[in-house]
């Protein structure tokens, strides 16, 4: 209800943009890491840990670049361990509990497909350090997409039970997909600078990839025009994030002066 009047600088916008991307990956990586030792099959313990590791690695590079741009002597870990709920700008879709393997896969597929198109553009960003990072991460994102897509097919066109479970997962998570394409003044500014991607530019591609995959998996495609949940980017979250942060930050906050590097 309060109007923002201050002008956003490019530096501020880039900092926020990097942190948003990083927050998504850190939080989703955290959820994936919860599978470690509890997967349905050893190969998936490895695959999910691997993707979690990629995400946390991507987040680390993004945070590192963010504090470098900020240039106030903060460490990347300060962003991880010493921000609260409303300062986190990850999308809600990333913070939902891991659910069953079907839910995890549905989320991975939708998010990976989005990242795949996003990173293709970011790899050409007019900021060498950032575009280099994106190009490097894109290779891993391609693997994530392939991995989750294959599982969508297996579960959708597998048994009756698996079909029902993955369908339920898509139905439940669908309302959180709209926010993937959220854009605001930060995106506008950085699009003018040819750094940020315009998510509108690939929304149709994303929809097609998602629809085609779901159809191939004999699944019903939920309505893309249904009500979409908002929040995330401006610090409005579900109640799940607070519990995740309590777990993630407790040790580090308990000993703020110790070196854990």
């Amino acid at each position: 209800m309060t109007t923002q009047t201050k002008t956003l600088t490019k530096k501020e916008a880039l900092f926020d943009y990097l942190v948003r991307l990083a927050d998504d990956r850190l939080i989703l990586g955290h959820r994936l890491s919860e599978w470690c030792g509890h997967g349905p099959i050893l190969e998936e313990d490895i695959a999910l840990a691997n993707i979690a590791l990629d995400y946390i690695g991507h987040a680390a590079s993004l945070y590192e670049y963010a504090v470098e741009i900020e240039d106030e002597g903060r460490h990347r870990d300060d962003l991880v361990y010493f921000r609260n709920d409303p300062e986190y700008t990850n999308l809600k879709i990333t913070e939902l509990p891991k659910g069953d393997f079907g839910f995890t896969i549905a989320r991975q597929f939708l998010f990976s497909a989005f990242s795949f198109y996003l990173y293709q553009i970011l790899a050409d960003a007019d900021d060498e350090q950032f575009s280099g990072m994106a190009a490097k991460h894109l290779k891993e994102v391609k693997y994530h997409l392939r991995h989750s897509r294959e599982w969508v097919l297996r579960l959708g066109d597998g048994t009756e039970e698996s079909h029902q479970r993955i369908q339920d997962a898509f139905d439940e998570i669908w309302t959180y997909t709209g926010a993937l394409f959220y854009q605001d003044e930060i995106d506008d500014l950085l699009q003018d600078e040819e750094i940020a991607a315009d998510t509108k530019s690939f929304k149709t591609d994303w929809k097609n990839l998602v629809s085609d995959t779901l159809k191939e998996a004999t699944l019903e495609v939920p309505d893309f025009d249904q009500y979409m949940a908002e929040g995330g980017r401006k610090g409005l979250h579900t109640e799940h994030l607070g519990h995740l942060l309590a777990e993630m930050q407790h040790l580090r906050r308990s000993y703020p002066d110790a070196n854990w590097e």
């Binding site: 955290h30 890491s33 919860e34 470690c36 030792g37 509890h38 997967g39 349905p40 099959i41 050893l42 190969e43 998936e44 313990d45 490895i46 840990a49 691997n50 979690a52 590791l53 946390i56 690695g57 987040a59 680390a60 945070y63 990347r76 870990d77 991880v80 361990y81 069953d100 393997f101 079907g102 097919l153 297996r154 579960l155 066109d157 597998g158 048994t159 039970e161 698996s162 479970r165 777990e247 993630m248 407790h250 040790l251 580090r252 000993y255 002066d257 110790a258 070196n259 854990w260 590097e261």
Partner: protein, 322 residues
């Protein structure tokens, strides 16, 4: 009757040939003739080893979500992932002996197969992650370096690969130990407490004294092992006491003493009651570990079924197409 004698004699001939090959230092490969008992002992050992890697993901995995820096989180996640990988190699290596992964996993879940007892202890603080890397991986390496020279090819090759990664884990663990031992007073207390809790269970990892270890002699004869439990344990103590002292940590053993003559560290007696208790299933975390594995297995049932059914359908439609 005659026939039986002939068969027996054939088998004993085979056995002799086999023992000769072992004594010549030859490597036994999956398709080679081997005595049943050799096969069974290897299946037992190798699947137990595979299970240990898988169950071993749990105590360290317990701290992934709470790791106090991104760097340490990535190192830990990567380490636990490696353990899953080791589990895979070892299950595959065991399959070369004709024991399917499904079969040996069922033995684990039904409580018929064992895994290393060390994983029946809980990780109670972040320092435990450091100490497991240093002591538990350190102990594993000593054992595995020996097994990398074992007479069974697939086992020895898996061990070479695993050993390389474990050495890296140990290095990272020791680095963390050193860092905490050099940190704030709270970090120092935390790391010493972890050493106090893990030291003795780690010594137990090498198994009972030689005189109480019925399999050892046979395994040595067959070139699977080349050192006894007590010999391996002594190497471990010699190496790790030194490393502890280097970073200023105490070993919780009042009887620990350096013997100038032998060049070995002499140490106190292990609490064998505790050892056998944990082996029997009464360790602090036996029930929870098995519960976690069983739940993962049961919750994953529908996923495995779906993957099989999908593969079947795919195969069918490819056959139709061709």
């Amino acid at each position: 009757m005659l026939q039986i004698l002939v068969l027996m004699s054939e088998e004993s001939t085979n056995k002799k040939t086999f023992q000769e090959r072992i004594d010549n230092g030859e490597t036994i490969e999956p398709k080679d003739d081997m005595p049943d008992r050799y096969r069974q002992q290897l299946i037992r050992m190798m699947s137990q080893h595979a299970h240990s890697e898988v169950v071993g993901m749990l105590p360290e995995g317990n701290w992934i979500t709470r790791a106090p820096s991104l760097r340490r989180k990535m190192i830990l996640l990567s380490k636990v992932q490696d353990e899953a990988g080791h589990g895979l190699y070892l299950y595959s290596a065991t399959e070369t002996l004709g024991a399917s992964r499904k079969e040996v996993i069922n033995q684990l879940l039904e409580g018929k197969a064992k895994y290393s007892s060390i994983f029946n202890y809980p990780t109670l603080s972040w320092a435990d992650v450091a100490v497991i890397g240093w002591l538990v991986d350190g102990a594993a390496i000593i054992n595995q370096t020996m097994l990398a020279r074992s007479s069974y090819g697939p086992y020895s090759r898996a061990m070479v690969r695993i050993c390389k990664e474990e050495s890296f884990h140990k290095k990272q663990g020791y680095e963390m130990v050193a860092q905490m031992a050099d940190g704030t007073s709270e970090q120092q207390e935390m790391i010493q407490d972890a050493v106090d809790r893990w030291w003795w269970p780690t010594l137990m990892m090498f198994g009972p004294h030689d005189e109480d270890s019925p399999n050892s002699e046979e395994l040595i004869k067959w070139g699977v092992k080349s050192k006894t439990n007590d010999e391996l344990r002594q190497s471990f103590v010699d190496r790790h006491v030194q490393e502890a002292h280097t970073v200023g940590l105490e070993i919780p053993d009042p009887d620990l003493e350096y013997n100038e003559e032998t060049g070995h560290w002499e140490f106190g007696e292990i609490d064998w009651d505790e050892f056998w208790n944990v082996v029997k299933g009464n360790g602090p975390m036996n029930k929870q570990r098995m519960k976690a594995r069983r739940e993962a297995h049961e919750n994953g049932e529908w996923v495995r079924e779906a993957a099989e059914e999908y593969a079947r359908k795919q195969k069918l439609s490819k056959e139709k197409a061709s």
